[in-house]
């Protein structure tokens, strides 16, 4: 029997990609939501920034759900 290098490679690529993607989404949404709050405090409208921030947060959650969906055999 041979060693399954491909499986190790998949783990490496998928894990790092998922982690980095999740963090980009999370950090960007934190940045946007903060910017929205600053804007609101200055009396400006921040609807776009706010909704953009929340949708990125939603995307991050979706990413996690999708990854879990991928590993559960009952869904396939």
């Amino acid at each position: 029997m041979k060693i399954d290098w491909a499986a190790l490679g998949i783990v490496a690529v998928v894990s790092i990609t998922a982690t980095v993607l999740f963090m980009i989404l999370l950090a960007t949404s934190i940045r946007l939501l903060s910017a929205a709050r600053v804007k609101t405090n200055q009396g400006q409208s921040a609807t776009v920034t706010l909704s953009l921030g929340y949708s990125l947060l939603g995307l991050a959650a979706l990413l996690v759900l999708f990854c879990i969906y991928l590993i559960v055999p009952q869904f396939h």
């Binding site: 029997m1 399954d4 783990v11 982690t19 980095v20 963090m23 999370l26 910017a35 879990i68």
Partner: protein, 407 residues
């Protein structure tokens, strides 16, 4: 005469011992995942403990790939007997207790694998161990997965700080606080998936060995559920440790680092579990914590502590293998040997308990024995990592603290 009854007795004993092993695993691990968000105030202790326990149970039901690796991949199922598996489990538990007493950071997952391998070699010969499967699904992932988690956490930490560079620190702190609570919950889920399955694999292996289940099949629903419940209950009763860590005023690594390392651990553990790798969750978590230290410029990483952990990890497989092999010698002697093994297990627990008493393991020196991996900054307190990782059993302290917190 009565060999069926004997076998049934041994099967039940193994299932019980395996579930206890599972319980102690949850008891030991998941509180660690939740200590971060509790310390930052993102979750209340009670919420965190219940959440971790439930997610452990849910996680255990998610996948059975690791269980299948253990029950169907490691060993030649034809040659495995029930008593060999009992010997493996006893070897793993005794090794865990010994390393716990000596303060060695040892992985209970690797102790389990080592114990089983040792017992199988003694009981059924070298040929019955599928060496390549073990290299491919345990040894290599043990090296690769922590590295992957570390790289992921380092990259994510760097990105987190870079993206929120101009964000007011109050805002980003609050944001990452909840991010950290979220990823810590995911770690609890992944922990259930990865470690819960090891127990399922062992129980399934026993059922196959006792001809109660056909070879090459996965764990049965009741096995999945009871393993999930055992690890969840363990997590729930281990929750007091969070209070203790808080009581000592232990401050975390910064919240972006916590969020990053949690995300990296989760991604690595879940993807590895999906491919049937028998990982130690503690190894991965340690890798990502180190990575989150590397990813932040002004954080101080204690490489000496990391090195010590690596040595302990290297020792675990052969060490527990030897203990498992010795137990295998006993287990081969029929019912008398099996009973002797169970008595020996109980005796060892008692002796080690007695030995640890003079050291008075109280809340003070327990936290002292934890080792610092990453210092957030000189002024801040340190992130404290459990050196024994997912090592098994600290029942005594649990009772003490339960009594205390109840009082």
């Amino acid at each position: 005469m009565g060999s069926d009854v004997t076998e049934l007795f041994v099967v039940i004993a193994v299932v019980m011992v395996a579930l206890i092993f599972d319980f102690t695993n949850g008891f030991h691990d998941s509180a660690n995942a939740m200590a971060g968000p509790v310390a930052t105030g993102a979750l209340r202790p009670r919420t965190a403990v219940i959440l971790a326990a439930v997610l452990n149970l849910v996680g255990a039901c998610l996948s059975t790939e690791v269980a299948k690796t253990i029950s169907g991949g490691f060993f030649d199922e034809e040659l495995i007997t029930v008593s060999i598996i009992l010997a493996g489990l006893v070897g793993a538990i005794i090794w865990n207790l010994l390393t716990w007493l000596l303060g060695l950071p040892s992985s209970s997952s690797h102790a389990l694998f080592g114990g089983l391998i040792g017992a199988v070699i003694v009981g059924a010969g070298f040929a019955s161990v599928h060496g390549w499967v073990i290299v491919s699904k345990v040894l290599l992932p043990a090296i690769v997965a922590p590295l992957v988690a570390g790289i992921g956490a380092a990259l994510a930490t760097m990105l987190a700080y870079r993206i929120t560079r101009r964000t007011p620190s109050g805002h980003s702190n609050t944001g990452f606080k909840y991010g950290q609570a979220f990823t810590a919950s995911l770690v609890a889920l992944a922990h259930g998936t990865s470690d819960g399955q090891k127990t399922m694999g062992v129980i399934t292996l026993v059922l196959i060995a006792a001809n109660l289940q056909p070879p090459d099949t996965g764990p049965q629903p009741w096995v999945i559920l009871s393993a999930g419940i055992a690890i969840g209950l363990g997590t729930y009763s281990g929750g007091w440790r969070i209070m203790r860590m808080l009581g000592k005023g232990v401050v975390e690594i910064e919240t972006p680092q916590g969020a990053a390392s949690g995300a990296a651990s989760t991604a690595t553990i879940l993807s590895s579990a999906h491919l049937g790798f028998g990982l130690s969750t503690t190894h991965v978590a340690t890798g990502s914590i180190l990575g989150s230290g590397v990813g932040r410029r002004d954080a101080e990483v204690r490489w000496g502590v990391a090195r010590k952990m690596v040595f302990a990890w290297l020792l675990t497989l052969p060490g527990s293998g030897l203990v498992g092999g010795a137990a295998g010698l006993l287990a081969n002697r029929g019912l008398a040997g099996v009973i002797a093994l169970l008595v020996l297990l109980a005796g060892t627990c008692l002796v080690i308990w007695a030995f640890s008493r003079p050291n008075k393991i109280s809340r003070h020196n327990v936290t002292d024995s934890r080792e610092v991996l990453v210092l957030a900054s000189p002024r801040q307190a340190e992130y404290v990592n459990d050196p024994r990782g997912d090592a098994v059993t600290k029942p005594k302290k649990n009772k003490k603290h339960k009594a205390k917190s109840a009082a």
